[in-house]
């Protein structure tokens, strides 16, 4: 059962397979996108095709699907058939987790593997939860942004629970890398959906404080700025009214460095009815040092104009935003 190529005994020489006639792939007389399969691979798949066509859900079929998966973990037909066999044999799904663990290392971004894992855990239920969340953390420790791992984690939490430590876990990860957007996304997921936390509105104030701290530490980090806006999703008036929000914009602008996101947030506030005090006007003016092109008296227009220049990659977008501003009163 070794996956070491040199040691592999051809299926044609294994006694337990002697009754099976391998089924070659029907590529036709003039194949295209034709892969130069190694002999081992070709043979494994020829035998798989035979078993699959015969719909043989036996222990040897289970072994064969393992070999086929190791040869090509992307073959969703093999994975699907393996599930049918596992069910037919009422197999030990904890062993299945071990198998998945074995191949997770070199296949951390494989859709089929993650989907299969979900299928297994679904059947094992709450008992499997704690270990699953731990193993998932290990995968994330090696690739902190693995999209499949994060989606899987979210699925486990929603299907089986385990929310209690999740916010702490997010905090821990953010301490290591405050720029990790996947972690910020997870944080949002937790505060909006955890049955222990009371929902977005209940969490909002403390989260705003948390986010403002992160912003002040790294104002050029896009993640907390978007997270901050997210805290006020569908409640834009509250965003405009929250002094913490306008105040962080002012603070960052006054440092005169890494102020682009602060300007953008201020622009969004203005577009939604924010009435700026003179402080805000002065802070924006201080960022613009040209005499030849004075700033517009309308603060929102002035900000768009500045952004066209300091975020010039997006000049087209800022011109469009300016064109969509309501005409000044």
């Amino acid at each position: 059962m070794d996956s070491d190529e040199g040691d592999r005994e051809p299926l044609s020489r294994r006694a337990e397979w002697s009754d099976v006639i391998p089924l070659p792939q029907d590529d036709g007389p003039n194949p295209v996108v034709s892969i130069a399969y190694k002999e081992d691979f070709r043979e494994t798949m020829d035998y798989f095709r035979a078993i699959y066509q015969a719909d043989e859900r036996s222990p040897r079929a289970l072994c064969l699907t393992r070999e086929a998966i190791l040869a090509n973990p992307g073959n969703y037909t093999v994975w699907h058939f393996r599930r049918l066999v596992l069910q037919a044999l009422n197999a030990d799904l904890y062993k299945e987790l071990d198998f998945l663990q074995q191949i997770a290392n070199s296949n951390a971004k494989n859709y089929q593997l993650w989907h299969h894992r979900r299928w297994v855990i679904e059947r094992l239920g709450a008992d499997a939860r704690a270990k699953e969340l731990e193993l998932n953390k290990e995968i994330l420790s090696r690739d902190t942004k693995n999209y499949h791992a994060w989606s899987h984690r979210q699925w486990v939490l929603q299907a089986l629970g385990g929310w209690e430590d999740e916010l702490d876990y997010c905090h821990c990860l953010l301490e290591q890398d405050v720029f990790n957007n996947s972690t910020w996304n997870q944080r949002y997921f937790v505060i909006t959906r955890s049955p222990f936390l009371g929902g977005l509105k209940a969490m909002r104030e403390s989260e705003v404080r948390y986010t403002v701290k992160a912003i002040l530490a790294q104002p050029n980090n896009e993640s907390p700025w978007r997270y901050l806006r997210g805290l006020y999703k569908d409640d834009i008036e509250a965003l405009v009214d929250d002094p913490q929000v306008s105040s962080v914009c002012l603070k960052v602008m006054n440092t005169k460095s890494n102020y682009i996101f602060a300007l953008i947030m201020l622009l969004d506030l203005l577009c939604n009815g924010f009435q700026p005090s003179q402080e805000f006007r002065d802070a924006v003016d201080a960022l613009w040092t040209s005499d030849t092109h004075p700033l517009d008296s309308d603060l929102a227009k002035a900000i768009c104009y500045i952004l066209e220049h300091v975020d010039s990659l997006r000049a087209g977008y800022w011109m469009w935003r300016k064109s969509k501003l309501p005409q000044a009163a």
């Binding site: 029907d26 036709g28 130069a36 190694k38 040869a71 037909t77 993650w114 896009e222």
Partner: protein
């Protein structure tokens, strides 16, 4: 105020890529103009050679794509079509034959002969056949059976499952709807509940995730937006938030990243760049219509007169601008792209092209057919990003490098070359 050592992993990874990219750009800018001209060329011949070779033979390492062979067909065929090249008719016939062997008797296409049908490989097979064009290719698709396959993949939530017992996500939704629309078999049963599902996948960032709760991601954003347009529910999305997210996915390198604070990757030239091409088809997000004055066409100057257009309630402006447009030659209707088209073209041409043929994720990564397809698709989007409609060929200054770099325009909803789409549309409308 921090020392180099206290940078986070995200920051370190980003700096490394920026250094590589800037070093390429620096080398480029220090070259004499004659060398620069060569560097700015799309190496068509090399790419075509790389692609046609792959259409015939692939090495043993490709066994990891043994369940994705219709994809390999599509990536190659579409790339070749973008460059307006043609294949041997015999090779075309062989491809049609191969894809027929991937077609399941009960509908849909699998990753290879004898494999279960799968929505993604179905999408790839159909797009391949549409790209080949002609009655033989188009009539080889069993539409009736395919429809039943799509119905079987439909979930109570409104979403779709990739295959029997497979995963559910926004990609599955897009591949199903794209195929249904292209083949003119889209109906209420396929559409019902789908808008709700995709809406639930738009995140607080503005982009769209693969599943509800997951992170906003370029690939899924393209899929989600295209699907919503195809089912005519696009205005249910928070479009201004989506646009705001996607414009910030373009980085200093010129290329696009897939997610906030991640690294640039050539394939997002299409997944993210293509979002802008899609948005052009969405009436409510129409950008400034720039109209060229007579006599300006030859100078190659960009937009001059601008009139703002379509916000709700600003019907007067609409009327004015449409009158203004009809006053001049409609063939020169232009729009301003919301993203930086020239910066993206520069990334694709200078950083994503591999010497010897093929395109790649970023410098330091190897070429592959997937990245070749999506870098070129993104390049086409860029070159046509000023065109309001496809009747007008792009002005020279829309195309970075020699005008011979110009690729065929696509229909961004399906990512097939526009001519081929039109042929297929006619074919499946009358049959």
């Amino acid at each position: 105020m921090e020392s180099f050592g206290s940078l986070t992993l995200t920051q370190r990874d980003q700096i490394m890529v920026e250094q590589q990219v800037f070093s390429i750009l620096k080398t480029f800018y220090e070259m004499p103009p004659s060398s620069q001209s060569v560097m700015m060329e799309l190496q068509r011949e090399d790419h075509v050679e790389y692609l046609t070779k792959g259409l015939k033979h692939l090495g043993p390492n490709f066994c990891v794509l043994d369940a994705n062979r219709p994809w390999i067909c599509y990536w190659i065929l579409h790339s070749i079509a973008l460059m307006d090249e043609f294949l041997d008719p015999e090779l075309e016939d062989n491809i049609i034959d191969f894809l027929s062997r991937c077609q399941d008797p009960d509908g849909g296409y699998g990753g290879g002969p004898g494999q279960m049908p799968h929505l993604a490989t179905t999408y790839a097979a159909v797009n391949s056949l549409v790209t080949l064009g002609g009655d033989k290719a188009l009539s080889s698709i069993n539409r009736e059976k395919l429809y039943t396959f799509l119905r079987r993949r439909k979930e109570p939530s409104g979403a779709f499952r990739m295959h029997d017992g497979g995963e559910i996500d926004v990609r599955a939704c897009y591949t199903a709807i794209s195929v249904a629309s292209l083949l003119n078999i889209l109906d209420d049963d396929l559409v019902q509940g789908l808008g709700d599902y995709i809406l639930s996948c738009q995140t607080y960032e503005g982009g769209i995730a693969g599943e509800p709760g997951s992170e906003a991601h370029g690939g899924y954003t393209f899929c989600g937006l295209a699907t919503m347009i195809l089912i005519n529910e696009v205005d249910r999305l928070d479009l201004s938030s989506l646009i705001d997210w996607v414009v910030f996915r373009q980085g200093v390198e010129g290329g696009f990243q897939g997610r906030t604070n991640k690294l640039v990757d050539g394939c997002y030239s299409f997944w993210q760049g293509g979002v802008f091409a899609l948005l052009k088809r969405v009436h409510s997000t129409k950008v400034e219509q720039s109209v060229l004055l007579p006599g300006e066409e030859d100078s190659g100057a960009e937009s001059l007169q601008t009139t703002t257009s379509s916000d709700e309630g600003e019907e007067d402006l609409n009327e004015d601008s449409s009158q203004a447009v009809s006053h001049f030659d409609r063939r020169h209707a232009r729009v301003e792209p919301l993203f930086n088209s020239l910066a993206l073209q520069q990334y694709i041409i200078l950083c994503a092209q591999e010497p010897g043929g093929g395109l790649r994720d970023k410098p330091g990564k190897s070429r592959d057919h997937y990245h070749t397809c999506y870098c070129l698709s993104g390049l086409s989007v860029c070159q046509h990003s000023w065109s309001a409609d496809e009747d007008s060929p792009p002005l020279p200054n829309a195309v970075l490098g020699p005008y011979s770099n110009l690729l065929e325009p696509i229909n961004p909803l399906y990512n097939v070359v526009l001519d081929r789409y039109q042929e297929a549309h006619e074919f499946f409308t009358r049959s």
